[in-house]
């Protein structure tokens, strides 16, 4: 079921299977938390530069200790529970939101064969597990006994369900080209990074993933200017810190998945593979921060319109074209298809920007 | 330059139309009886040549014996303005007709006068206190409040 490739682990490593499993799980969890904090710091500095200001630079040299200061602040705040809310659900919601995000990291390859669990249905596992976070968000909204929270929770369910479909279809394109669901094999089969062969797939995946993790321009859940904090309006202290962490760990997970699927994971010349992986993850995250700092927010009916009328047809067309290409050239796709695919993407984007209108208008009351 | 119309000239015109309505007309303003306020205002708004379609300001002043309510009217097309006044005598149970049906802009301003001076406006769709809370006693802007 699970195992480590011999290249990753010396054969005389002491302890049995479960000891190794425990040690590497702990290492992975530490990695997730440290990287999440590093990404929080990176986002605040980068966003500051976009906004013509310096980010945090007081706590520690260059403000490196800022996320630790945030964590300490969150831990020392009083945890207030709403009196009329559903207490068990209220307590469980951050847990249900956080655990699946950590579970996603089990199948991401850091090096050839270096994964916690080399599942042969890797990417399917990722899609399935990451949907459970939505249940956690809804639990948080419902149990808070607050109209704003319920509004936020309803919006989140509608959005998450709508954007799962283009996400899955974009992934299917990669699976067709790579010929396997296992993430390790997808990386090893990328002689050229797949974003060259599947540009439309990358675009659809990036946008659908932004919506899944509630980042701008789809961040109406935490739209401070509308429903204040949305579903986590009644959370404070450690539970709020967990939700905040969920947001960044999800962003990290999606960046890692995009790197694995489209940017050829840990492959690269003369630097150690883990370092290449980290560089690519930070690069993808930078694009997320860039989009967040620049673009305004969409309204909920416009987001729905975008998913069903924009991304879904594009993802279907991408799948169709990929399917045709894989059937015609089963041995391996020739490099001229790169230009063909980019041209198709440009044409489709032009057509869609002309043809469909975002969202509804005023309702007669 | 916005021409401030002379109160006397408008006063004579109004006196012809609404006999007995005009109490006094001076250079600056026209003073009408509170009963004829609404017909006079409708006449000023609808007559071509006058066309006072913009209510610039609506306020009240407390002169101890009476309250004077002042309307500053402007016409955007002809660029002229007029000051219309009316009075309420006494201190209690003051009522005036509301001009919200003519100029929507009077909505909040009449509520303010009701809240701070105590003059009620008949025909106002939502006459509640606007700045102070429901249950406040007294009308603070009156000269005898503090």
């Amino acid at each position: 079921m699970t195992g480590y490739s011999a290249a990753a682990l010396p054969p005389d490593w002491p302890g049995g299977f479960w000891v190794h499993f425990g040690v590497f799980t702990v290492i992975l969890l530490v990695f997730i938390l440290v990287m999440a904090m590093a990404l929080i710091y990176f986002e605040r500095r980068a966003q500051g530069r976009f906004q013509v200001r310096i980010g945090p630079n007081r706590t520690g040299p260059f403000g490196v200790l800022q996320p630790i200061a945030d964590a300490i602040k969150a831990l020392t705040k009083e945890s207030i529970t709403p009196a009329k809310g559903d207490k068990l659900v209220y307590w469980l919601a951050p847990v249900v939101a956080f655990v699946p995000v950590c579970m996603v990291f089990a199948v991401i390859p850091f090096q050839d064969g270096a994964l916690l669990a080399d599942l042969n249905i890797g990417i399917l596992y990722v899609v399935a597990v990451s949907s459970v976070t939505t249940v956690g968000i809804f639990m948080a909204g419902w149990s808070s006994n607050n109209k704003y929270a319920v509004l936020g929770a309803m919006r989140s369910i509608a959005m998450a369900v709508s954007y799962e479909i283009p996400l899955g279809l974009a992934i299917l394109g990669i699976v067709l080209v790579a010929g396997s669901l296992s993430l390790n094999e997808i990386v090893t089969s990328q002689n050229i990074p797949y974003f060259l062969l599947q540009p439309l797939g990358l675009l659809v995946f990036f946008l659908a993933a932004s919506a899944e993790i509630n980042r701008a321009p789809f961040d109406l859940l935490e739209a401070e200017s509308e429903i204040v904090a949305g579903f986590h309006i009644e959370y404070s202290g450690m539970k709020f810190a967990l939700f905040y962490l969920v947001e960044y760990c999800e962003a990290l997970a999606i960046s890692a998945i995009i790197t694995t699927l489209y940017l050829s994971g840990w492959k690269g010349p003369w630097l150690p593979p883990v370092l290449w992986f980290l560089i690519k993850v930070v690069l993808v995250f930078f694009v997320f921060v860039w989009v967040r700092s620049t673009i305004p927010r969409l309204r909920v009916d416009q987001i729905m319109g975008f998913a069903w009328k924009g991304l879904l047809p594009l993802a279907l067309i991408n799948l169709f074209i990929t399917g045709i290409q894989v059937v015609v050239w089963p041995g391996g796709l020739p490099w001229v298809l790169i230009f063909v695919n980019w041209a198709i993407m440009a044409v489709l984007i032009l057509l869609w920007s002309r043809l469909f209108r975002l969202g509804g208008g005023r309702v007669e009351v | 330059m916005t021409r401030a119309l002379s109160g006397q000239e408008i006063g004579t015109r109004l006196e012809e139309k609404f006999t007995g309505g005009v109490i006094e007309s001076s250079q600056d303003a026209v003073l009408v009886k509170s009963e004829s306020l609404l017909p006079v205002a409708t006449y000023l708004k609808d007559t071509p040549g006058l066309d006072f379609d913009y209510l610039a300001n609506l306020t009240a002043v407390d002169y101890f014996d009476y309250f004077e309510v002042v309307y500053h009217l402007t016409s955007l097309q002809h660029n002229h303005s007029l000051v219309l006044k009316t009075r309420c005598y006494g201190r209690d149970n003051l009522r005036l007709p509301s001009v919200v049906s003519l100029w929507r802009g009077a909505d909040f301003q009449e509520r303010e006068i009701y809240d701070l001076m105590g003059i009620s406006f008949d025909g106002h769709p939502n006459l509640k206190r606007i700045f102070l809370w429901e249950g406040f006693e007294g009308h603070p802007l009156r000269r005898d409040y503090l």
């Binding site: 200001r53 509308e226 305004p296 | 002043v61």
Partner: protein, 367 residues
């Protein structure tokens, strides 16, 4: 079987990051659609009209600073114009030009905050807001050079301005005026053609022309609906009749039009400042007015075009050192009359944007 639905009432409360102050909106929602709205304010009511009844005319100028605290210069100006009209005081020409320069700089500063917060409400997470604050810092530094204050200036006096500008002011103003148009173009370039911004503001919160006039709207709200009415052209005060400028108007009256009107007004303000700097003569900056002025018995209504609309002061005098009655005609309170008509039928997210496009300041609404 039809699903039973029920409208629910939500409070966009006094404490909210986007209501530009302590303002409360009771929304009745049917799902996400707003079917009714009731604005509730008065949380910042300080009784200014009662306070001024015991104070000498000159002491009221700092109190008017606190009305629309984001545009103090124009508040001061409206008040002193009303008193000068009542007392028949003539202001020296250099003072008039200084007043125009300060008013237009204030218009720029106020529109920068107004447009910045509007874009922030649209969701562009503080980035345009920070860019506009960078420019506002320069304007506020200029004001500090002149009167020593950054927010509540107390610069205008009855009969002129309080004192002349220092020598380094004109050089700094010159530099500012040369660089500002490039920055306004930069803001336009960053966001004006953005798809998402257009999708969220075009056609949203339409105010028809007749309703705008009937509701006594003024300022960018009125001009966005297509009515070409600006007090600086219709009833010129100070030296505006010697200056050339245009009045931008919108066509439809949606949020996008109001945003464009404000951006264009910023360009026109720079143009006015440049002309005023060239035409300004030397001379006294204050007429000889007694400290405790006693205007003759009578009344006057003085109004100006403040950044938010028509700001008017109605002064009644009984020949004593303090006014008998001072009424402030607040542009933002009267613009709020249109709020319900603009918002009903749209969704919660639009309510914040439409409210932001009116650009209110609670100090003026509540007085």
């Amino acid at each position: 079987m039809a699903i039973r639905t029920e409208p629910f009432v939500i409070n966009m409360g006094p404490q909210h990051p986007s209501t530009h102050g302590v303002f409360r909106m009771r929304l009745t929602l049917d799902g996400e659609v707003i079917i009714d709205l009731e604005p509730i304010f008065g949380y910042l009511h300080r009784g200014i009209e009662k306070i001024v009844e015991g104070r000498p005319y000159a002491q009221i100028v700092p109190i008017t600073d606190r009305l629309d605290y984001l545009a103090s210069m124009t508040n001061n100006l409206a008040y002193v114009i009303a008193v000068e009209k009542l007392a028949g005081i003539k202001v020296p020409e250099r003072a008039e030009y200084l007043r125009v320069i300060m008013s237009e700089l204030q218009r720029l500063a106020s529109h920068l905050i107004g447009v910045g917060s509007f874009l922030n409400d649209c969701g562009a997470y503080f980035t345009p807001f920070m860019y506009m604050y960078r420019e506002r810092e320069k304007i506020v530094d200029l004001f500090e050079m002149v009167c020593g204050q950054r927010l509540t200036y107390n610069y205008m006096r009855i009969g002129g301005v309080s004192h002349d500008v220092p020598d380094e002011f004109m050089a700094a103003l010159d530099k500012f005026v040369k660089t500002m148009p490039a920055f306004i173009d930069e803001y336009d370039q960053l966001l004006a053609g953005n798809e998402i911004l257009l999708a969220r503001t075009k056609g949203v919160g339409i105010l028809p022309k007749e309703l705008a006039i009937n509701s006594s709207a003024s300022g960018p709200v009125l001009r966005g609906s297509g009515v070409k009415w600006d007090i600086r052209k219709a009833d010129p005060y100070s030296v505006y009749n010697h200056l050339n400028f245009d009045i931008p108007t919108g066509t439809v009256g949606d949020c996008y039009d109001r945003y464009r009107v404000r951006m264009e007004e910023m360009r026109q303000s720079v143009r006015i400042i440049r002309q005023a700097m060239e035409q300004m003569p030397a001379g006294a900056v204050r007429a000889d007015v007694p400290r405790l002025i006693r205007p003759p018995v009578g009344e006057a209504y003085g109004h100006i075009e403040s950044p938010k609309g028509e700001l008017g002061f109605y002064v009644v005098s009984d020949n004593s050192i303090a006014p008998y009655r001072l009424h402030i005609r607040p542009p933002t309170l009267i613009n709020l009359t249109t709020l319900r008509d603009m918002i009903v039928g749209w969704k919660v997210a639009d309510a914040v944007i439409i409210f932001g496009s009116i650009d209110i300041c609670l100090g003026e609404v509540d007085r």
